[in-house]
Each structure stands twice: as structure tokens, then as C-alpha cells.
Symmetry: C2
Subunit: 332 residues, 2 copies
DNA sequence: ATGAAAGCGCTAACAT
DNA sequence: ATGTTAGCGCTTTCAT
């Protein structure tokens, strides 16, 4: 493997100058820069990241602690984090956790610290309690209210409460007297936020609060909830906590002889890629995973690179309700 | 941050001895070992991985190139890879690619090489063609036939062909004259393997090969295929290339007045967590993602740590067909 | 605008 | 069973 001295020799400059060029530092003449880059290319030279990390004290990498699940939301968020990190010039190191393992998050954080990351992202959709470990680098907590000890703790999340409220308000605006809710598992904070947003919307209109059905995010649990709701008199509008459940719900309603949206309107949550293609096309609220990941990571990188400056204010993404064919005014 | 000399001083030994203890090297007395570990704990000492990597030439990390999708299969495999790597004592660095980006895989590999990984896993369910970059470390290719240049190229994959064949044979064994197939997207090699296995099973029994319907992995595309099949006379058995499509397919059949499994039997593929809980419980073939990840990574780690020894033979996991309520003999 | 020298904190090779 | 001595390949600091 060629080293920077080899490049320097070939380009006829000092090793330090090679370092300058490769790090885009100022005070290098255009001619020298060109020669260095050419020499590097000729030799197939790559900067040694371990040496750089040792000398500079920074690894240019970010660690992520994520729940090991293939569910749409968590997996999409992880992908968003990777892209955002890469766009900001950071590599990503990932450690997954298992639901219900109490020491999981702390252990994962510890292994990231061993690897020497410049910052840590904790993306745990299920609240696993405080993280009992001292973290010496900035931390970004996604979704959950942070309960970690670190020099700098940032937070970013989708505005699930407002999004759920908008979904519910949309149904109320159409004239529905109230809106039923098929919630996600209680221990997911995202599910709780949606429940609260739904509840707040109903309270805001003084609409009655029907009992909540709880699913497990799967289309099938939505189907079961739909069978239940089809038996319940007076159901004209339902807000499901994710699109999969909404799709199962619609099938159950249709199987039970209720038309969607003529008899019952349904709103989902996530706006998954197939939402426009189901029958009827699903009204949903888009989860801005990429945007949240981008905003969160830019906060984190800011904290890493400019530790003494205050973090820039989070933008806050507009709620993106996508109205399609699954919602309509209630039957006359 | 404390360094190993600090630990050495506190424990009253040389710095090298600290290194020995922390690396589980032989020739350290029990007493010294205890003292060193205690001193390390007292100081809250962590090995500096950059220094270790620089001195040893190894990073103890593995890079993964994975398609950036939240679909069940790819996401599950990624999680399996992370766990397997961690169990083997390696950290994971992840780079995602975007479908259809021709230079994506090469670029991702290049960025992993810059980070200095000891080995690379390429987990791309869609064939993106050969990877035009020289890789100086062992490579594990998951699923696809490898077309990369590296000192050592390993491969691991689920036996999708045999699994599809077993699923199809199961239906033929029940007495069905033939089996229809709802395939995945043509550009996914997993979809092609399943198609081939299905086709081989039919050929093996000299059963007629009905035209194939192609879905996009979603329950909804399965539903569309089901509507189509419900119109086709003589359909008594269907093998769907994944469980989501199978579930949509069943709903479509039921919506069209066909009973499952009395009139039509359906087999899925993946054995996702909810497969036992749908109605009727879904017969499926389990994809052993964790096992494949484990096997593949142990091959890779072997190639990393013992470059001159031949790789151990891959075990090859038994096909795991889970028979549930969605399959039965054809109607009389 | 460029270069020389001095580490960063470990592991490797060689003592003892 | 333990210690000593050299680097690993960069960045940093200070000259020029």
C-alpha cells in the first residue's frame, strides 16, 4: 500500500503538502495541487484512516444504535441516517439491539465508544429507559425524549403528534362526528404520540373519544381491528397508526360489506410507497424520515465540529397529509 | 482520556503487559492480569482503536454494501449481518446504495476501503453488474453470483431454488395437477431463483407450466394477481414468491368467492413473523437470514484471519417448509 | 506557499 | 512471565 510519502516523492513535494492537498487546506498552488492529485491517482493511493484518526483525534464516523427490526419505520429511518451521514462526510457504524434486552442500548453505546466514533445516534422506537453510561461525545436521540448523559444531547423526531392530529382533523373536517383509532403497540413512543395527537384533535372539537383498538403494526392486526369495527355501530371514520394496518382494516371493512370511503373513511400513517396503488388509494400522512435524519445529523455534526456554538434551531417539517380516495364525507 | 501507560503505571507493570492483558495474550500471571483489569476499570480506560489499527494493520471491522430498502428480506439480512459480525468480534460499517445507480456499488466499496475495513460484504438483491474496482480485502457476496475482483471472494446465499422447489413439490404432493406462480420483480435474483425452482419442480413431475404473474413484493400486488387468478379456470394451487404477496393473494381469492385452502391452496415464502397469525395460517418456507449471515461472515472472518487456509465448506441449511392451514388437497 | 520535526497510542519484534 | 525499543502513517506545530 502506498503511503503519503510515496505520493510526495513522486510529486516532488513534501509529505505535508500531500496532506494539505488531500485535506483541502489552503495555501497550495494550483500547480502543486494538480501534481499531487495526479501522483496519488497513479499510485492508487488512499489515505489511511487509522493513522489520520490517531493523529487528529477524530474518526469522521458516527455510530448508530438501532432496534434490530425490519419494520418499515425503523428500517427506513436507518437508511435515512446512513445517507445523511454520508452526505455530511461521515462514515456510519451500526449496532443493533434486541427488543426487551435491558442492557442492550448501554452495551451498544459502549461498543461504539470502543470503536471511537465522533458522535452517536440513538434510534430506539421503544423506550428502554435511561442509558446508564457516560458518553463522551455528542448524542442525537431520535424520537424518544432523551435520557442519556453526554456533553451534548440533541433531539430530532417527526412531529407525530401534529401529524396524527392533522389526520384526525381531516376526517372531522369532512363532517365525521368522531374518529376511531387503531393504535400501534403501547410501548412504542411513536404509537403513543399518534394516540395523543388523535385524542387532542377529538378534544379540540369536543368529539366523543371512542375506545382504542391496539394492533401490532401488521396488516393482519389491522384486519382483525377492522372486523371488530365493522361490528360496531356508528363507525364512519378510522385513523390507523400505520399504513399496513390501514390496508388490512380496509379489507376487513370491505369483507364485512362496508364500502370505503362511502360508508367508512380510513386514514393511514407513513405514506408507504404502495399507498397510492391500493384500492381505494390510501389517504395517509407522510413520515419525513429522510428529512428528520438529515436535520438530526446536521445538528449532531454541528455539535461535533463546533462544540462551543449553540446548535442551530431545528426547522420543523410541515405536516404532509396526502389526501387520496380512502376518505370522504360520512354517509348522509 | 487515559492511555495504556496510565493503566500500566497504576498497576505497576509495563505498558506492554497492559496490552497483553487487554488482548488476552498468553504469559500473564493471574495476579498481574487482575491488577491490570482493576486499574483499567478504575481509570475508565478504553483501548484506542485507531492506534491499534495503525499499529496492527487491522481494524477489526467489516464493511457492508447493502441496497437502501426497508423491504423485509434485505433489511432482515442486514440485521443478521450486524449480529453475526458482532458475535465474531467485528464492528460493522454500512454503506447503502440506491437502486439503478450504476456506479453505486463500486462507490460504496471504495468508501469502505477508505475507511479501512478488513473485509467487505456485498448484499445486493438486484444485480447491478460487475464491480469495476480492485478490492484488496476478502469479499463476501450474498445472494448474487460474485463478479468482483478481490484476493478472496466468498459466497453465501439461501438455497432459494431448493426452497421454491420444496414449496412447489409440497403442493404437487397434495395432489394438485399444477401450481401457479406469482413471482417477484424480474431484476431481483432472489425472484429468479424462486421462479427457476418452481419451474424445475413442475418439470420434475411433468406438470404443465402455467404463465407467471409478476408482482412487486407488496401485498397489494399479490391482491391484483389474486384477482387475475380468480378469473382463471383450473387454478387450485399458487406459490407466491413472498408472504406479503401471498397474504394479498389470499384476500383476493376470498373476495372473489374462492375458499382457501378448500378451493385454492397458497404457499408463501419468507415465513415472516405474522405468517402463523393470518387467516388461514400461511404455509411458507422460512428464509434462514440469520444462518446465512452467520455462515457467510464466518467464511469471511476465516479468510481475513487465516488467509492461507482453504475456506471451510459451507454447511448448507436444510429447507424449512412450514406447513400451516393455507394448503390442502385440491377440490375433488 | 511550503517544509521539518515531533508526536498520536498502540502492537510487533526482540530482549531478558 | 515480563520489559524495551521501534515504528504504524498520518496531523500538528513551528519554521522558513
Amino acid at each position: 500500500m502506498p503511503r503519503s510519502v510515496d505520493v510526495a516523492r513522486l510529486a516532488g513535494v513534501s509529505q505535508k503538502t500531500v496532506s494539505r492537498v488531500l485535506n483541502d487546506e489552503p495555501y497550495v498552488s494550483a500547480d502543486v495541487r494538480r501534481r499531487v492529485l495526479e501522483a496519488a491517482k497513479t499510485l492508487g493511493y488512499r489515505l489511511n484512516s487509522a493513522a489520520r484518526a490517531l493523529a487528529s483525534g477524530r474518526t469522521r464516523s458516527i455510530g448508530v444504535v438501532a432496534l434490530g427490526t425490519a419494520l418499515h419505520g425503523p428500517a427506513s429511518l436507518l437508511i435515512g441516517i446512513e445517507r445523511a451521514a454520508r452526505d455530511l462526510g461521515y462514515a456510519l457504524r451500526v449496532v443493533t439491539t434486541v427488543e426487551g434486552d435491558p442492557s442492550g442500548v448501554a452495551g451498544a453505546v459502549s461498543s461504539l465508544l470502543d470503536q471511537g466514533v465522533d458522535g452517536i445516534v440513538i434510534s430506539e422506537p421503544i423506550d428502554e429507559g435511561p442509558v446508564p453510561i457516560e458518553i463522551g461525545v455528542p448524542v442525537l436521540v431520535l424520537g424518544a425524549p432523551p435520557s442519556v448523559a453526554a456533553p451534548r444531547v440533541l433531539r430530532a423526531s417527526v412531529r407525530a403528534h401534529d401529524m396524527a392530529r392533522a389526520a384526525t382533523d381531516h376526517l372531522l373536517d369532512l363532517g365525521h362526528k368522531t374518529v376511531h383509532h387503531v393504535a400501534g403497540p403501547r410501548n412504542w413512543h411513536g404509537a403513543r404520540d399518534r394516540l395523543d395527537g388523535w385524542s387532542a384533535a377529538l378534544a379540540g372539537r369536543k368529539a366523543p373519544q371512542p375506545p382504542v383498538l391496539e394492533g401490532d403494526w401488521s396488516a393482519d392486526s389491522g384486519y382483525a381491528a377492522g372486523r371488530e369495527l365493522a361490528k360496531t355501530p356508528g363507525v364512519t371514520a378510522v385513523f390507523a397508526a400505520n399504513d399496513d394496518m390501514a390496508i388490512g382494516l380496509i379489507r376487513a371493512l370491505v369483507d364485512s360489506g362496508r364500502r370505503v370511503p362511502e360508508d367508512v373513511s380510513v386514514v393511514g400513517f407513513d405514506d408507504i410507497p404502495i399507498a397510492p396503488y391500493v384500492t381505494p388509494p390510501l389517504t395517509s400522512v407522510r413520515q419525513p424520515f429522510d428529512a428528520v435524519a438529515r436535520d438530526g445529523l446536521s445538528l449532531l455534526v454541528h455539535a461535533i465540529e463546533k462544540p462551543d456554538q449553540a446548535p442551530p434551531a431545528a426547522a420543523g417539517h410541515p405536516v404532509d397529509l396526502v389526501v387520496r380516495g380512502s376518505t370522504a364525507p360520512p354517509p348522509a
